[in-house]
Symmetry: C2
Subunit: 564 residues, 2 copies
């Protein structure tokens, strides 16, 4: 994995710790061998602790009592701009105790102290552990010792020499591994090989003892899905009534949950709005406080995660759970709050891991919450992140296929599923529709294959395009309709297919309730692009749609003017 930007690794490890706890709850169920018994170690810095994401995820980890987490804080009093006292004077011990962590303070240069602290931390099973290890940056270097230069600069050849001299270390060879270290490592390697063998044996026995459980276990790690699972999903997500795509997504999640036990997820305190709760999936909750009175049920067996109002750490924790490897994990919130978690989305794309992010309330049409909660620029801003797949589905089939994509390994990077709050009229499909067309990113609706112009839209604007085409048809104007649930996927198609779908790029009407500029990648300047290029206002959906011209009548009128 890559952490890079400060704070991300801190929260990734919390996600890993949660995933491990959830696997343990599922598979450490006999009295004997426990297949899931790892600790998650994280080394963090002042900078990590200054970033707010570390507080979010520390609070979450403390809340859930993730005792498998062991953090070492390299407490060296120095950041890039100089001593940390310029901007950092927290009582770190108290801060972490306040959010439920077990905290130790040690001399980070005393390896026995480090060893003892880790042993102690391992024994604390109901709280995450923070080991504050006081260290000196650039230790031993005559000129860099304890200064911020050691943070940002390489020592250089001369200073390396001087440091070796100061520490009583031979100058040559450049990379010296003393004989006693070699011996220690050889001894350790042998010991660990023995332990590994022992573990393999125990694991084999465990498999034999309960083959069904072992099969379940493998299913998690292999993400096994039944053949034709995507068709099952499409069958399961059906409606003939106006329905919000967030509600269709809820249907997809329920179905997927039955065929993919390894699907888990939650929301940043918006699950009632994002509709991402797995029914009968159980809730991951804080274990009972008193260890002498254990809860009747291991909450880590649950599938629904309450991330709290912490979008950024939710993103990084979903990444951590995904990296752990046994789960497909999703995190959900309003599309506008994708801004709070962009650094985590970007890292999932950079790492090429299949994190799933669900965003509802996907445009100004969320209505009364007003402009602070209305997405305008988020769609194309997200599409700019390389190696990421954003779906904005328009009906049940597209919602089902978007979810099928997310868990189906069709692309290495993350999948973002963007959904409406408002109800959409279902699209009437003809017999020529194959749901797999959705996986080409954009395709021509089978009832609207011919025409002089092409109406191209995504999500909530596809039913609008269909109705507009019907209006125009009554006047003798024929329009093709292209649904583009994922421009990212469409970008990966061959040029022939792209050209076939787009047709004459000057005769396209692109409609999307968001910033319009991104469309010019697909259409010529004399095309008609209908978007929203300013902040909105607080009003009911219908009023906003009318005011901004997102009705079939108004779109048709703009098309008539454009065609003149």
């Amino acid at each position: 994995m890559t952490t890079g930007p400060l704070g991300q690794g801190f929260a990734n490890a919390v996600g890993m710790g949660l995933a491990a706890k959830m696997m343990a709850a599922r598979f450490n169920i006999g009295d004997g061998f426990k297949p899931v018994n790892s600790y998650i170690y994280c080394i963090c810095s002042d900078g990590d602790l200054e970033e707010g994401i570390s507080q979010e995820s520390a609070s979450f980890a403390g809340h859930l009592g993730l005792g498998n987490l062991i953090y070492l804080y390299d407490d060296n009093d120095v950041s890039l701009d100089g001593p940390t006292r310029y901007s950092f004077s927290e009582d770190v011990k108290k801060r972490f105790e306040a959010v439920g962590w077990h905290v130790q303070k040690i001399d980070g240069h005393d390896r026995n102290a480090v060893r003892k602290a880790i042993r102690k931390a391992q024994k604390v099973t109901d709280q995450p552990s923070m080991i504050m290890a006081k260290t000196v940056i650039g230790f031993g270097s005559p000129r860099f010792h304890g200064t911020s230069r050691a943070h940002g600069e390489p020592l250089g050849a001369d200073e390396v020499k001087a440091t070796k001299a100061a520490l009583g270390w031979p100058e040559e060879p450049t990379f010296l591994v003393p004989e006693e270290v070699r011996e220690e490592f050889a001894r350790k390697t042998k010991k660990l090989a023995r332990e590994h063998k022992k573990w393999d044996k125990a694991m084999a026995e465990w498999r034999r003892a309960d083959p069904q459980l072992a099969e379940d276990y493998d299913r998690y790690w292999n993400h096994t899905l039944p053949d034709g699972y995507e068709t099952q999903l499409v069958e399961a997500v059906k409606t003939d009534k106006p329905t919000a795509t967030r509600d269709l997504s809820a249907q997809a999640i329920q179905k997927l949950a039955t065929i993919a036990p390894f699907l888990v997820g939650g929301a940043a305190d918006l699950s009632t709005s994002t509709k991402t709760t797995i029914k009968d999936g159980g809730s991951i909750e804080r274990p009972q406080d008193d260890p002498k009175d254990p809860p009747p049920f291991d909450f880590f067996r649950g599938r629904n995660i309450h991330f709290g109002v912490r979008e950024h750490s939710m993103g990084a924790e979903v990444n951590g759970m995904t990296l752990y490897g046994s789960f497909f994990a999703y995190g959900s919130t309003f599309l506008i709050f994708s801004d709070y978690m962009r650094p985590a989305i970007r890292l999932s794309a950079l790492m090429g891991i299949p994190s799933i992010f669900v965003y509802t309330h996907d445009s100004v049409f969320l209505g009364e919450d007003g402009p602070t909660h209305q997405s305008v620029e988020q769609l194309f801003a997200l599409r700019l992140i390389p190696n990421m797949t954003l779906f904005r589905p328009s009906d049940s089939a597209e919602v089902a296929m978007a979810w099928a994509w997310a868990v189906g390994g069709k692309h290495k990077g993350p999948t973002l599923i963007v959904l409406t709050r408002q109800k959409l009229d279902p699209i009437t499909r003809g017999g020529g529709f194959d749901p797999h067309e959705v996986w080409r990113g954009a395709y021509v609706l089978d009832n609207y294959r011919d025409g002089d112009i092409t109406l191209m839209a995504t999500g909530s604007e596809v039913p609008l395009a269909v109705k507009t085409a019907d209006l125009l048809k009554n006047e003798g104007k024929r329009a093709r309709v292209v649904s583009a649930p994922s421009l990212d996927v469409f970008d990966r198609q061959d040029v022939d297919y792209q050209n076939r779908v787009l047709g004459d790029r000057s005769r396209i009407v692109a409609i999307e309730a968001g910033r319009s500029s991104g469309w010019y990648k697909y259409v010529n300047h004399d095309a008609l692009v209908i978007g929203i290029d300013r902040f909105g206002a607080s009003a009911p959906y219908e009023q906003i749609a009318e005011h901004l011209g997102f009705t079939p009548q108004k779109v048709a009128q703009r098309i008539r003017e454009w065609m003149r």
Copy 2:
């Protein structure tokens, strides 16, 4: 102001408190009347405290001992998804004490307790104050009392009636102001009017006593700049050597600091990299801990702010300082970390306030820090935010005019100044260049006015375009060169000007070291767009430039192939 997204208001208030402290240090300097003596009050929620940005700014406020801050935490145990115990179990008192706050716990329904707590908080002058007010959400409503429904739903007419009945309140009129409340308010209004008059009188005396100080004071609030300040800036920022635009920006800041005393700012622990320190401006530092041993110097007189590794709160604190009204404040970090602060940037745009954000290391060309630190999609992702002005200047004149724009009130919203780490060769300007052309967003370089094709570039790619044009000239091909320091400003020009600058949109070569798709808003599909559409790698600048084809030779070669 608008807070909207959770946590923003928490950090805005910290920015306001800091601004007030800084004004007090500058103008409360006599023994008598103190013109700056306000408290900043903030009402916050569980959700605010869950967001990491609140921890970032709380730590910053505690570090600086901002005793003028008084926060009331509406501690009602309920969030949108249900009881806060689903995800929140912090010892909030301990958490805030750990970062240096004075904390009180009260019954939030006891107005005498609220009054007493505020009085006490006002007396704590060396620590920010947090008043934890335990309340019941939907108090008195038979059905909503203490439940999450009171968070997300209106009570409705029937429940309002029932609540009034339960609380012993008359059902009619709908909005009842009891006579005793009217009397209390009338009494209070009179008292406050007297105090206001007294204050006006004292302020007038203060002005008479020291007219020079009063003039300085007004200068802060009016942001008075000398006539032709932008020309002064252009004169001050000069170079004939290869120079990074971040270093040119440092020159601009030094000059601007002398003519605009109200310019203050800092970095998120990267000031040595972003080069935003005001020389001799003094540093805002933690006041000495022992109140009996006051520091010899009031650190709040400083101009350089150490925001810590806290980009998100830096953004919101800069917004708070800007909203306070007397300062032009900037915050700086690497361009990639604009992702950490997008919600704050967006709100500054939505509010239309002139916050200044400085972003250096603006592309993959930052080199060795690698892809986690290299911007690819940030430029166009930021440009999608409505009502925001992003400058990516290419030389000294453009850097100077970008800074002049930021403080000059040319646009209501925020200004982002995006700068290179690597050195750029200066552009040779002809006599026909007027620096005010920079304020049109894009313009034709006066030495490259004629040609069959147009090379259009921003920032570090303008010198590349110039060199490429020179190469092509040697082969008898003439190229115009357009520098586009701000596409946002260019978008606001009239269509005639835009068309004149762009020329034939099919004959444009657009060059920018970032995602290419945004350019199609300006050029046709048969134009040549040279960008970077994938994540980079860690390597020295020259290697990356060579590998990605960002050298005059390679660009010229691509142009030759494209022209065929």
